[in-house]
Amino acid sequence: MRARAGNLGPMAVVAAAAVLLYLPLVVIANYPLAQRALERGAVMDCEGPLACAFSLRNPVIPAPGQLFTGIYNLLLPLDSPSAIPINAFWTGAETLVGLALAALVGFLFAVGLVLSRAFELSVLPWIVASQTVPIIALAPMLVVLLGQYGVQGWLPKAIIAAYIAFFPVTIGLAKGLRSPDSLTLDLMKTYRATTFQTFLKVRLPASLPYLFTAFRISTAAALIGAIIAEMSTISFYGLGKMLSENARASDVVGTWVLMIASAALGILLVACVGWVERLVTPWRR
């Protein structure tokens, strides 16, 4: 994850490829639309369908200029409740709180799975089932349920994020806790270590790399969970709330800007996980 001088070349190549792919895609997506608009005699400030593909009022894929204008309009002012920064902050906060909850719940489930075969057989199918329920159907119900007990605002969104995120954490941690080999466990036995000592000094540290791998997956999932929760319930802030407003207003450019903002937030959050990982596991190469 760490950007080094030697990696800047490949990073630039991939970024350039993305930009080069973007322009033909704009044409492919918007050309038929522009052609039909011109046939219908629409008054546009452009010559021919190719040029007009870059200046449709509601394009399928916004042209670079439209995109930059859209980003500028939605990014500023920084402290506006209808601009991206504050909303992204709340979505990010919900995601992080969701991750923390997921870590806690995932840890308890993982310990249960590792300690007891009966727990694994009886609880694991339910954990798997919980992940197959469409979150978009579940989210409003959860919000109504939690609202009855006075849990409102950002917390229900964090809980929904946690609902999605705890699964990879549970599976990853369980695998990590089981990862010490039999010789290492024999070694602890020769010291007459208690089960708790072996857990604390061997199983737990051995599970950390697995935990962080799971966290990276969970972070992306939790962010999607938070956004879907914001979209499918009554929200006063968040990228999800902005997305559903844009969808209602059929603002294609705004939707694209928000997708880019969500992606950027995801990259930032996953980078944070990587940073914490390096802090917590300094022994790794």
Binding site: T190, A193, K201, L208, T281, W283
Partner: protein, 271 residues
């Protein structure tokens, strides 16, 4: 029965440090891993268990360590059962692999058993540093295991096994994964440690030169079922060095061990 006197084996006086009497180990699937083994080991000896795979040498060591329990027979270590010996932390165990904790520095790895056993902090630090100095790795105390070579990692593992000053040192093919040159150096190093610490060492190997070079006695074991074929005393003078390997007596004993192993092989072919 192994009760018949084997040349070189001390008479079973009952005051041996380790006493194995008619021990048989049958695993769950019915495999006879060890059949009717009887062996005495005196305080301060360096005894090698040698034999091909499946001869029960690791099984015998694990029985002595109370990692498994025998199907029949008795084992006594300093007059105690293996379980009591483990409780009293009478032995340090060195495995085939270094089994170092990758998240601990070299020093912290050596301190691991001391932490588990509840030694005070300063004592842990002092002992671990002394043990690293003993195996010549004091300059690497702050490194992580992956920064060390395989031979160095195994030396850390030996330092760790000695850190709580056990009476016995059990070693299960500790140098099996290392190259010949590193192995010969570590053999010399191990003999020095044995002289300086006065530990009783029980050493599992499948290398004849290693067994002859290190041991005061060699227990030759043969497979199917795993059993003790014979015990060969090694009268090579101490202290031993690289020249020891080139003496004619060294070759004579190595030949004796080889022939004893072959005898066991004939048994295997018959079955």
């Amino acid at each position: 029965m192994n009760a018949t006197a084997v040349p070189g084996e001390p008479a079973a006086t009952g005051d041996a440090l380790v006493s194995v009497r008619n021990v048989t180990m049958i695993y769950g699937g019915g495999t006879v891993a060890l059949k009717d083994a009887t062996l005495d080991i005196e305080q301060g000896e360096f005894v090698s268990l040698i034999g091909p795979s499946g001869c029960g040498k690791t099984t015998l060591l694990r029985l002595l360590a109370d990692l498994i329990e025998p199907s029949s027979g008795t084992i006594s270590i300093g007059g105690k059962s293996p379980a009591e010996a483990r409780r009293d932390r009478s032995y340090g165990y060195v495995f085939q692999a270094p089994t170092l904790m990758e998240w601990r520095t070299v020093l912290a790895n050596v301190m691991l058993p001391l932490e588990v056993m509840g030694f005070p902090r300063e004592e842990r630090q002092r002992r671990a540093e002394a043990m690293l100095a003993l195996v010549g790795l004091d300059k690497f105390a702050d490194k992580y295991p992956w920064q060390l070579s395989g031979g160095m990692q195994q030396r850390v593992s030996i330092a760790r096994a000695l850190s709580f000053d056990p009476q016995l040192l059990y070693m299960d093919e500790p140098f099996g994964a290392l190259d010949e040159i590193t192995r010969e150096n570590l053999n010399l190093e191990l003999l020095r440690l044995w002289r300086e610490t006065g530990k009783t060492v029980i050493f599992v190997t499948h290398s004849i030169p290693e067994a002859v070079f290190l041991s005061t006695r060699i227990v030759v074991m043969t497979p199917r079922p795993g059993k003790i074929e014979t015990v060969i005393p090694v009268d090579l003078p101490q202290p031993r060095d690289f020249e020891t390997r080139e003496t004619s007596r060294f070759f004579e004993i190595a030949t004796e061990v080889r022939e004893a192993l072959r005898k066991g092989h004939g048994y295997e072919v018959e079955v």
